[in-house]
Point group: C2
Chain length 362, copies 2
C-alpha cells in the first residue's frame, strides 16, 4: 500500500522520515537492547530522550529561561480546566476574559466557568459564524482580569490570529494546539501557552505547557496531577510520562529543526496555504467561508457549489490518494489541514484534483 | 544490538511479537495509506482499532455488561483524584476507607484527603515495612464508607493480594496497575478498577478504568475531562484519545489472548515467580524482605548479603543481558519485575546468573 496525502485536522500527518526512524528503532533503540516503549522513564537512555525533546522545543520556539516547559497528558481539553485551577487564587472573587473564535474557544470558556465565578467574553465572532478573528479594536478587556485567553488557530472554522492581542498588562494565555511550530512566536508576549501534540508536534497523548515560572505555585490545594508546579518541580516526571509519545515528539522536533526551524516552516506554510486559497478563490465552484484577513494557514475549510456532490468529491479524492478531507461533523463541507508535515506536493495534488473535479462535475 | 531481558517495574518489557508487528505497520497500517499515529481518531480504521481493544479487554477479563470500560490519560496518579471526585456526592460529609500496603497506596490515600474530609486507614502494614498484605481479620472497616480502596499489587515492596477483601457491602475499588491480566479476577467483586497500562497492558500514556455503570453521574460539576460519565457517554472519545498507545494496548491484548488468556498467564507467572523465589530462598546470599504469603508474582525485591556488592551485581548482570534490576530508589537493593511479557527464559537466565554471581562473590 502506498502512502496517501492525509489532510486530517488531527491526529494528522507526520513526517515520513520520523515514521521511518521510529520503525527502524521500534524493536531495539540504539544500544539499549529494548524498545523506547519498554524503557523505565528513569533510565539513562530515556532521560536523554525527554531532555532532548525539551531542549529542542526551547530552541525552536526560543523559549526564555524564565518559562517552564511541561510535557503532560490529557490534551488541550484538560488544560481548559488546569489553567483556571492554577492561575486563580480566589476563584470566586476573580474574573477572567475569553475571546471566542470557535468551538474550541467555547469549550475552554465552558470549562473555565466551572472553576471561576466570573468568566467574561472579551470578544466573539460567533455572530459572523466565526468567519474571522475579532480585531484589537473590538476587544472589551477587563484590566482586572486574572488572564485573557485566546485560541491562536481554529481548526474547525479555519481562522488564525495574525496579530498578538494587546491585553493591557493582563496575562495573555493561548491555546496554540493547531499552529504551534508553524511560524515564529514571541513567547514572552504570553504568560502561558499550551498545545496538544497531535497536529504539528507529534502523536496524540502528550501535551506541551509553556508557563512563566512566577505563575507557578499560586494554589497549594490542587491534586498533584493538576498542579503545574508539581510537574515543573519534577521535570515532567512526577508520574510516568507518556514515554513513547514524547520520543516521537522529539523526532518531530529534530525534523523541524532539520527543515530550517519555524521560520522556514512559516515560509513553506505561507506557500502551501496561498496555493490552496488561490485555487478556491479563482473558481466559482469552490467557496471558502472565512474572511481573507483571518484565513488559517493550517486548516482550510471550503464548500462545493453543489453540496450534493460532497460524497462524490470525497470518494474521488480518496481514489486519487487524497484523504480525510471531510469538514468537521459540526460544519460539513470540506476541510484540508496543511500542517507542517504536509508536503507541498500534497497541496499541489489537491489543487490539481480540485480543478479536474470541477471540470468533470462543475 | 541484541535484545536484553528487561526487568523494569514499568514501563516494562513488551512482547517481541507486538513490537515486530508495530514496526511492520509503523509507516503504513494495512490499507489505510498512513501510520496509526496519523489517523483521525474518528476515522473508520481507528474506530475499529479502539473498539477491538475494548472488546479484547472485556473478553480477557470477563467484564460484565454493566461495567463501562474507559481508556483515559494521566495514569493511576490521576485516578487517585478522579476516584473520590466521581464517587463522592457529599465530600465533606462522607468517609472513605483505604488499606495501606505501600508507596502507591499511600499516594492514593494522600490524594483522597484533598477530596474528602474523612479518609480512614482501614488497615496498614507500614509497621512491618509493608512486607505483607493485611489479612481480612486485620481490617477495621467502616460500614458507612463510600468505598474501600486497595492496591492489588505493590511494585516497590513486592507484595500482592491473594484474597479479595470482604468489604461488607461497601463498594470495593482497586488499583490493579501492576497485576492486571496476570491472573483471572472476578470483576463483579469490585465497583471500580483502574490500571496504568505500562506493566501488563502496553505503553505508558493510556489508563484503563472499569467502572460499574450505576456509579456514573453522581457529580455534575466536574471538569468534563475528570468526569467518568462524560468519557463513558463518549466511548472514550470525548477528546482525542492517546491513539497510538491504545493501538499498542490492542496488540498486547491480542498477544495475551493468543497465549491462552489470563488463566494461562497465571500458570506461567506462578512458574516464573516460583523459580526466582526458590533461587533466593535456597541461598543465604540473597534475601527477600517479603513474607511468603504475600509475595508478588510480578515484582520480586531481593537484597545481597553484602550491599557493597550491589553495583557489581548490576554491572555484571547488565553484561549478561539482564537489565533494570536496581530496586526502587526509595528502598534500594534489587528488584526483578516478571510481567506477562517476561519470558520464562529471562527468569532462567537471571536465576543462573545469580547462582554464578554468588559463587564468584558470595
Amino acid at each position: 500500500m502506498e502512502r496517501v496525502y492525509n489532510f486530517s485536522a488531527g491526529p494528522g500527518v507526520l513526517p515520513l522520515a520520523v515514521l521511518e526512524q521510529a520503525r527502524d528503532e521500534m524493536v531495539v533503540y540504539k544500544d539499549s537492547g529494548m524498545s523506547v516503549m519498554e524503557m523505565s522513564h528513569r533510565s539513562k537512555p530515556y532521560m536523554a530522550i525527554i531532555a532532548q525533546a525539551e531542549s529542542l522545543l526551547r530552541e525552536l520556539l526560543a523559549i526564555p529561561d524564565n518559562y517552564a516547559v511541561l510535557l503532560l497528558q490529557g490534551g488541550a481539553s484538560l488544560q481548559f480546566s488546569m489553567l483556571p485551577m492554577n492561575l486563580l487564587t480566589h476563584p470566586t472573587q476573580q474574573s477572567v476574559d475569553y475571546i471566542l473564535t470557535g468551538s474550541w474557544a467555547e469549550k475552554a470558556y465552558g470549562e473555565a466557568k466551572k472553576q471561576c465565578g466570573d468568566v467574561r467574553v472579551a470578544a466573539s465572532s460567533k455572530a459572523v459564524n466565526y468567519s474571522r478573528i475579532p480585531t484589537q479594536a473590538e476587544l472589551t478587556l477587563n484590566p482586572q482580569a486574572a488572564y485573557l485567553h485566546i485560541t491562536s488557530n481554529n481548526t474547525i472554522f479555519g481562522t488564525e490570529y495574525y496579530y498578538t492581542p494587546d491585553s493591557g498588562g493582563v496575562p495573555l494565555v493561548a491555546d496554540i494546539s493547531s499552529n504551534v511550530l508553524s511560524r515564529p512566536m514571541e513567547i514572552s508576549d504570553y504568560a502561558l501557552l499550551y498545545a496538544g501534540a497531535q497536529k504539528n508536534l507529534g502523536p496524540s497523548g502528550v501535551t506541551v505547557v509553556i508557563v512563566r515560572k512566577d505563575l507557578l505555585g499560586r494554589r497549594t490545594d490542587l491534586p498533584n496531577m493538576l498542579d503545574y508546579k508539581v510537574h515543573a518541580d519534577n521535570d515532567s516526571m512526577f508520574n510516568t510520562p507518556p514515554t513513547y509519545a514524547i520520543y516521537i515528539l522529539g523526532l518531530v522536533l529534530q525534523w523541524t529543526k532539520n527543515q530550517g526551524g519555524v521560520a522556514a516552516m512559516e515560509q513553506r506554510n505561507i506557500r502551501k496555504a496561498a496555493k490552496l486559497y488561490a485555487a478556491i478563490d479563482r473558481s466559482s465552484y469552490y467557496q471558502c467561508p472565512t474572511e481573507a484577513i483571518s484565513r488559517s494557514r493550517m486548516n482550510v475549510p471550503f464548500t462545493l457549489a453543489d453540496p450534493s456532490q460532497d460524497a462524490t468529491f470525497l470518494a474521488e479524492a480518496k481514489k486519487a490518494g487524497l484523504v480525510t478531507l471531510a469538514g468537521h461533523r459540526s460544519v460539513g463541507g470540506m476541510r484540508a489541514s496543511l500542517y507542517n508535515a504536509m508536503p507541498e506536493e500534497g497541496v499541489d495534488a489537491l489543487v490539481t484534483f480540485m480543478a479536474e473535479f470541477e471540470r468533470r462535475h462543475g
